[in-house]
Symmetry: C2
Subunit: 340 residues, 2 copies
C-alpha cells in the first residue's frame, strides 16, 4: 500500500477521543456513548479509515482468513469447491486464502504451512497425497483444520466426505434398470481411494443384480481426464467384448469415452450408454448431455468452511460425521437397452 494509510490513532486524534474508543466503535462492541459513537463514525467515514487486518490478527492471535488447500484452481471440480467455501466467507466477514498444492505430499505440507504462517485458523484441506497419520497429526495441531473428500475414522468429525460406494451402486443400478447387463467400467490407473471405492460399489451392485463381473470389463486410464477416458475406451474396444453400458470414473473421463466412441462410429446412447460422475458443468457441454451422479461439492465445501470456522474458535467436541450422498441426474447419455 501507499504508506499513507490512516490508522486508528489518526481517527482518535481528529475525533478527540482515545484509540480504545475508536476500536470499540469499529468493532461495534463494548459500551460507547451514543453521540460519541456518532462522532467517531463520522470521522472514520470522512477519513476513510480501514482497520489494518494484520494488526488485528496479530493482537487477537487469529486471522479472519479461511484457508483452502486444493491441487489446482483451474480444475473445474476444485474451482467449484473453492467457490462453495468462498460463499461462506462472505457471510462471516472472512477472506479466502488459496494455497494450491499439486502432486506431492511435500507440496501439500508446504501449502498448509503457508496458511499456518498466516495464522489462518480455519482451513479446508483437500488432500490427495498425505497419509492418514500425517493428517491426524496436522488435525491435532490445527483445531480449525477440516478435511474434504476424505474419511479418517479417528477424526471423523473433521471429515466431510461423499459416499462413493453408494454413488457407484446407484449409477450401476441405473444402467441395470435400463436393461443393461454388459456393463464396463472406466477407472483411473493411479492409486486413488475414491476409484477403489467406486469400483467396489460397482461390483456390489452387479452382484446384487446377479450379474457376474468379467474382469476384462474393467479398463483404466492413465489420467482421470478426457484423455484417460479415450485411452481406456480404446483398450476396451480392442478386447472386442460386447458392451452396452459404460460407467466412467468421472465426467471428464466419460466425455473422453463419448468422444472416442464417436470417433469409432459408435453412437451414444443408441449403441452404448455412458454414465459419468461429478456433474460438473462441463457435463452438459457434451452431446449427448451426460447422465451422471451429482457430486454436491459446492454444498460440501460450504459445509466444510462453516465447520472449519466454527471449530477454529470454539472447541466443539461433538462427535458426528459429515457424510454426503450423490444422486442421479438423468440426461441423455443413457437409454433403455433393447435386447434383441
Amino acid at each position: 500500500m501507499n504508506g499513507i494509510m490512516i490508522t486508528i490513532k489518526d481517527v482518535a486524534r481528529v475525533a478527540g477521543v482515545s484509540t480504545s474508543t475508536v476500536s470499540r466503535v469499529v468493532r461495534k462492541q463494548g459500551k460507547v456513548g451514543k453521540v460519541c459513537r456518532a462522532k467517531v463514525q463520522k470521522v472514520i467515514d470522512e477519513l476513510g479509515y480501514r482497520p489494518n487486518i494484520n494488526a488485528q490478527a496479530l493482537v487477537s492471535k487469529k486471522s479472519n482468513s479461511l484457508g483452502i488447500v486444493i491441487p489446482k484452481v483451474s480444475m473445474p471440480f476444485f474451482a467449484t469447491l473453492a467457490c462453495g467455501a468462498e460463499e461462506i466467507t462472505k457471510e462471516n466477514d472472512f477472506r479466502v486464502l488459496i494455497s494450491t498444492a499439486y502432486g506431492s505430499e511435500q507440496a501439500e505440507l508446504d501449502a498448509i504451512d503457508s496458511l499456518v504462517q498466516h495464522r489462518c485458523g480455519a482451513i479446508v484441506f483437500h488432500s490427495m497425497h498425505c497419509s492418514d497419520e500425517i493428517l491426524c497429526e496436522l488435525a491435532e495441531k490445527i483445531p480449525g483444520l477440516v478435511f474434504i473428500n476424505r474419511f479418517i475414522a479417528k477424526i471423523a468429525h473433521r471429515c466431510i466426505w461423499l459416499d462413493n460406494n453408494m454413488g457407484a451402486q446407484e449409477a450401476t443400478r441405473h444402467l441395470i434398470n435400463r436393461g443393461h447387463t454388459n456393463i464396463a467400467v472406466i477407472s483411473r490407473k493411479d492409486v486413488n481411494p475414491d476409484a477403489q471405492v467406486r469400483l467396489d460399489g460397482f461390483r456390489t451392485a452387479l452382484n446384487n443384480a446377479g450379474i457376474i463381473l468379467d474382469n476384462t470389463m474393467i479398463e483404466y486410464g492413465t489420467t482421470a481426464d478426457m484423455n484417460g477416458g479415450k485411452e481406456a475406451v480404446r483398450a476396451l474396444l480392442a478386447k472386442g467384448n460386447k458392451v452396452t453400458g459404460i460407467l466412467a470414473y468421472n465426467d471428464l473421463m466419460a466425455i473422453g469415452v463419448v468422444h472416442e466412441l464417436h470417433a469409432h462410429g459408435i453412437r451414444v446412447p443408441e449403441d452404448i450408454s455412458v454414465i459419468g460422475f461429478d456433474d460438473l458443468s462441463i457435463s452438459v457441454a457434451c452431446i449427448p448431455e451426460l447422465t451422471t451422479m451429482h457430486y454436491p461439492v459446492r454444498e460440501m465445501a460450504s459445509y466444510a468452511a462453516n465447520l472449519a470456522i466454527k471449530l477454529s474458535d470454539s472447541v466443539d467436541s461433538t462427535v458426528k460425521t459429515h457424510l454426503f450422498m450423490p444422486h442421479l441426474i438423468e440426461r441423455d447419455s443413457v437409454i433403455e437397452h433393447l435386447s434383441i
Copy 2:
C-alpha cells in the same frame, strides 16, 4: 491457531541469541556468523518455528499477498485467470487472496476494500462494473493495482488487455476464407465493452472482404453462456435467413449454439460452421470440438500478477502497454463451405 505458537523469542531464548539474529537467519539477509546461523537454524527446525506473517506485514507495512478480484471462481474463464496469477505467487513466495465480486460496482469496491484492509500491495482486478474514473482513482491510491481485460488510456501501463477487435476479425476471416459469406453473429445482450469491440471487428472483416452486413444476421443472448447461445440461435433460426457460418461471442455461447442447432437437426459443421472465442477447456468437450480463438488468459494473468507485484514495491513509471493477441485454434466445428 492453537495459541501455543512458537515465536521468535522462543527461538532466540533456546538458541541463546537475540531476536534480531533469529530474524536475520529467517529472512536470510544481513550478516550472521556461519556457526551462529547453523545453531539458530537448528533450533528453528527443532521447534518448528514459523514466522507470523501478520506481524511481518504489520511492521514492514505490506503483506506478501497477491489479491485477485474476479466475479466468481467457478466460472472457467476466471478460474483460469486465478490459476495464472497463482502460479506467479509460488515463484515470489506470495500467497493468493481471492476476493470475489459479483454483479455490482459496490461489490467490486468492497472486494478491493477487503484487500486494502489486508494491506495487500499487489492486486489483479478484473472489473466488470466500475467506470474508468473510479478505476483511475483506485489506481492512484493503490500503486500495485493492475487491471486485467480492460483498457483505460490514462493508466494504460496498468492495464493488461486483449485485442478483441483483431480477434474477431481473425475469426471472421477464417470463416470467409473457408468460403462462408452468410455469416451470423451471436453476441451478448448486456452492455459489455468486449462484445461491442468484437462486433466491430466482425464488421470490419466483413467490410474488408466486400461482404455487406445484414443487421438481421446479428442476434443476442440474454446471458453469455450456453443458454444465451441457444436463445439467440432460436431467434436467428426463426428469421429464416440463410446462414452457413456462425461466430459466437464466446465458447459457452458457441456450445449452446451447437446444441440448439443439433436439436433442430442441423449438423455442425456439415450444415453450419461455428466458431467460438476463449478456448476454454470446455471447448473440446463438445462434439464437434470447437474451432475457436485462443484467449491467453492464463499467460495474461501471470503477466498481470508479475506486474502488480513489481509495481507494488517499486515505482516503475515506465509507460508501456500490455496488449495480448488471441489466435486461432482450428478444431472441428468449421469446415469449407461448398457453394452449390
